[in-house]
């Protein structure tokens, strides 16, 4: 059959195509000035002042209607040097210098994360970037800090440093080296970018805790989030993407990640920066200058941008779709630590249902390696019932063969290095969600993962073993 549109009732409601440009003589808001920009799916023409007021209002109303901000809050605003994050600082600054009754009551601190190590940027360039960043933040008078991506590898000590006019970048050689190794270890750009995103989130949380902030602000616009939704779906992160694209990411019990720009499009934020003549600093990242077919992230971005050309409602439709998704139980925090992915803290979504994509893929792998000779119908009929997935079965068998020597299984604190090497892929994968498994799949070995993650694997593994040994006596 023609599979073009045999949906439920076969009908299909397509997105609205591009309508005629509606430049009006005067601004549709104040009816006096000449319009300079078209917004709201290019249906409305606004003048400069009305537009700036509109952006400011959207920003404030997004924060206001969430009812999450408390006067005692200290907010950590993530600043990357991009125009978007500068616009966020500008909006925050404007809100803090308002008349008394409209003023934001929370306090703002700014954080810059130096990611130069993974690109091999020279130390001079990284220091220059740092100083340029501090120059921008200084204008607003916010207290600011910087940290490095490599600090994820450090066990102890402070990881955030105050950022002042001529501070120099403090790096630790060995953790920088470990970070570089980790990224060299990951083969595909898609997995690298995904890993970077997960690590960045960890850094946000870790820094916010160190600096006693209870909220982190990131400058994601609705355009970014629409791209994010498509990327997440393609990365198998469907069950968790509502955390990645909603106003608040509540995964961590004490620190919430908040996206105050999510009601604004990239275009609106860019024009806000342009009209206010805000500086931005160009710092290349992993996917900069890479072609669109080099990673899923870049491909989704290009796809959304191209669609926007002809279907200006794409971003808002996708974004609204994302808004309607969510978990049925809204509090993720009550989950026990044992059910969470060690990398992204999401509930493990890989319990293998009898008939699911995970099971089908596992099954394909299994029978491709067994072949008709090593396989009979009995194996098949048992498979769906065990519903444990081949991956985890393999993991178990590998575990049994490898956990006999050296460190006893119940010894959680043992820092023995052999143990690190002995963490096989199945060991780690078992504790990851579907999306993070794909990152692990693209790695050459697991030992280059940050110690904090490896430690979790070992702890959970020994707990598992302990539980097994006392299983018969548990009621």
């Amino acid at each position: 059959m023609c599979s073009r549109n045999d949906e439920e009732d076969g009908s299909q409601s397509l997105m609205e195509g591009k309508t005629k440009l509606t430049w009006t003589e005067v601004c549709q808001k104040c009816s006096t000035e000449k319009p300079v920009i078209q917004i709201l799916q290019i249906k409305h023409a606004y003048c400069r002042n009305c537009f700036l007021a509109h952006v400011n209002h959207k920003f404030r109303s997004t924060l206001g209607k969430s009812k999450m901000m408390k006067p005692s809050d200290v907010v950590l605003a993530a600043f990357s040097g991009s125009g978007k994050s500068n616009a966020m600082l500008h909006l925050l600054h404007a809100g803090l210098s308002e008349q008394s009754h409209k003023r934001f009551l929370f306090k703002v601190q700014v954080l810059y994360i130096d990611e130069g190590a993974i690109l091999g940027t020279s130390l001079e360039d990284r220091t220059a970037n740092l100083q340029a960043i501090s120059g921008i933040i200084e204008q607003y008078g916010f207290k600011s800090y910087y940290t490095t991506l490599a600090s994820i590898f450090e066990e102890t000590g402070s990881k955030c440093f105050p950022l002042v006019k001529d501070s120099t970048l403090k790096i630790k050689e060995n953790s920088e080296e470990e970070l570089k190794n980790l990224f060299l270890n990951v083969k595909s750009l898609t997995a690298r970018e995904d890993l970077l995103r997960q690590l960045r989130r960890k850094i946000f949380l870790q820094s916010a805790k160190e600096l006693d902030c209870c909220k982190v602000f990131t400058a994601n616009t609705s355009t970014d989030l629409a791209i994010h939704i498509l990327t997440d779906v393609s990365l198998g992160r469907g069950s968790q993407m509502h955390h990645d694209v909603s106003f608040c990411d509540p995964r961590d019990a004490s620190v919430k990640i908040i996206r105050p720009l999510l009601e604004l499009s990239s275009k609106e934020v860019t024009y806000y920066s342009v009209f206010h003549e805000l500086e931005s600093i160009y710092i290349p990242s992993l996917c900069t200058k890479a072609s669109s077919d080099s990673s899923i992230h870049n491909m989704s971005k290009q796809f959304v941008m191209e669609l926007m050309e002809n279907f200006p409602s794409t971003v808002s439709t996708v974004f609204r779709t994302g808004e309607k998704l969510g978990s049925t139980n809204t509090t993720n925090t009550c989950e026990t630590e044992d059910n969470l992915c060690i990398i992204c803290q999401m509930k493990l979504d890989v319990s293998v249902a009898a008939c699911s994509s995970v099971q089908a893929t596992d099954f394909s792998r299994l029978i491709s390696s067994l072949g008709p000779a090593g396989f009979d119908n009995k194996t098949l009929s048992q498979l769906p019932d065990t519903s444990k997935g081949i991956l985890s079965n393999q993991a178990d068998s590998l575990l049994c063969s490898s956990s006999t020597s050296c460190c006893s299984d119940s010894d959680v604190q043992c820092g023995c290095h052999k143990d690190v090497q002995r963490l096989s892929f199945p060991d780690v994968e078992k504790l990851c969600c579907y999306g993070c498994r794909l990152i692990i799949h693209d790695m050459e070995n697991t030992s280059s993962l940050p110690e904090s993650i490896l430690h979790k694997v070992r702890t959970r593994r020994s707990l598992e073993n302990m539980r097994e040994s006392i299983q018969d006596f548990l009621l």
Partner: protein
């Protein structure tokens, strides 16, 4: 140096599986392909012993392979199924008439009875005639809506227990993307389910045994088995928007081949917030088939065609109602003039 088959059967591999990257020889591939479909059927509880199953056959690669594999598995694993072919003749000259020849070939090759239903006998309109009325834009809406209805009616006519369609993994992943792009939450939620529409009695469930099978592997299977299938694009303009999603998926697949299964996994594990209102599914007051509106889409479209207002079912409902009222008013006026 030739690569050995990864199942260690000793033979040289002839292909790399797009799904897992394993290299397999011809025999191991056939076996793996069939065993996987069998696994899907068993674990998804798609059929019951003694069921009569209609295979929706278009003559294309998916349905040809589906009919062949179901026949093979039915005999090998003793499903006890009674298989029939069901084809819909949309009445598209230069496309469907040719592909129906392939279906007839399948009927003879696989020894299955074939039932062909045409739009003309069901609705009084061929697609050629419809396109003459509505033009090349939006004609896919008519074709899709009518085919769904036609399959349902055909299934009822044949008295089958379920209809098996040839939707493959690529189709499903594409549908997930499409529904996100269109913001269609209700369909997003149910589009990945392997059995559809069984809850309301009276409607015949549809199953997708090839749900986890890559399109590429279907082509490989058909190629190495030398199955004949019909592979021409429909002569009427292809749907541009789905085309975007399809091209996007193909690009993603080049970057990471597992992306199709990953998207299906995402679709399967998506959850919709409790407070989101979803359309309630009821029955069409005119023909009784499943619908979320008072009248099902097929009835509205057909009414539009018969009234000479083909755009009736395409635009907004409010516009359609206005057009309907206008025409009714005009008719009364004409009637009034007569007396």
């Amino acid at each position: 140096m030739p690569v050995k088959c990864s199942s260690s059967c000793g033979k040289n591999a002839i292909l790399k599986r797009p799904k897992t990257g394993d290299a397999l020889c011809k025999d191991c591939f056939f076996w793996a392909f069939e065993t996987e479909v069998h696994n899907t059927i068993v674990s998804g509880h798609l059929f019951k012993k003694g069921d009569t199953v209609a295979v929706a056959a278009s003559g294309g690669k998916d349905s040809t392979v589906l009919a062949y594999v179901l026949k093979v598995l039915n005999e090998r694993h003793d499903y006890g199924l009674n298989l029939v072919l069901l084809s819909i003749d949309e009445g598209i000259t230069g496309y469907r008439d040719d592909s129906l020849e392939t279906v007839k070939q399948n009927r003879d090759d696989y020894q299955m009875p074939l039932k062909i239903l045409s739009y003309e006998e069901l609705f009084g309109w061929t697609m050629d005639a419809i396109v003459g009325q509505v033009g090349r834009k939006n004609n896919c809406t008519f074709c899709g809506v009518f085919r769904r209805q036609a399959l349902d009616r055909g299934a009822t006519l044949l008295g089958v227990n379920c209809v098996a369609t040839g939707h493959n993994a690529d189709d499903l992943a594409e549908t997930v993307l499409m529904n996100i792009l269109r913001g269609d939450i209700a369909r997003l939620q149910r589009c990945t389910s392997i059995i559809t529409a069984s809850e309301s009695e009276g409607s015949i469930p549809r199953v997708k045994p090839l749900k986890y099978t890559y399109e590429k592997e279907i082509v490989m299977y058909a190629y190495f088995k030398r199955l004949v299938y019909f592979s021409t694009e429909c002569v009427f303009a292809p749907n541009a928007y789905r085309g975007h999603a399809r091209a996007f998926l193909k690009d993603l697949e080049k970057i990471r081949p597992s992306v199709i299964m990953d998207i299906i996994h995402s679709g399967e594990s998506l959850q919709v917030k409790d407070d989101v209102k979803l359309p309630v599914r009821t029955q069409c007051t005119r023909c009784g088939s499943v619908s979320s509106q008072e009248l099902c889409k097929a009835c509205v479209l057909l009414e539009g065609l018969n009234r000479g207002l083909p755009k009736l079912g395409i635009g907004k409902t409010s516009l359609a109602n206005r057009a309907r009222e206008q025409q009714d008013a005009q008719k009364t006026r004409i009637v009034n003039c007569d007396f």
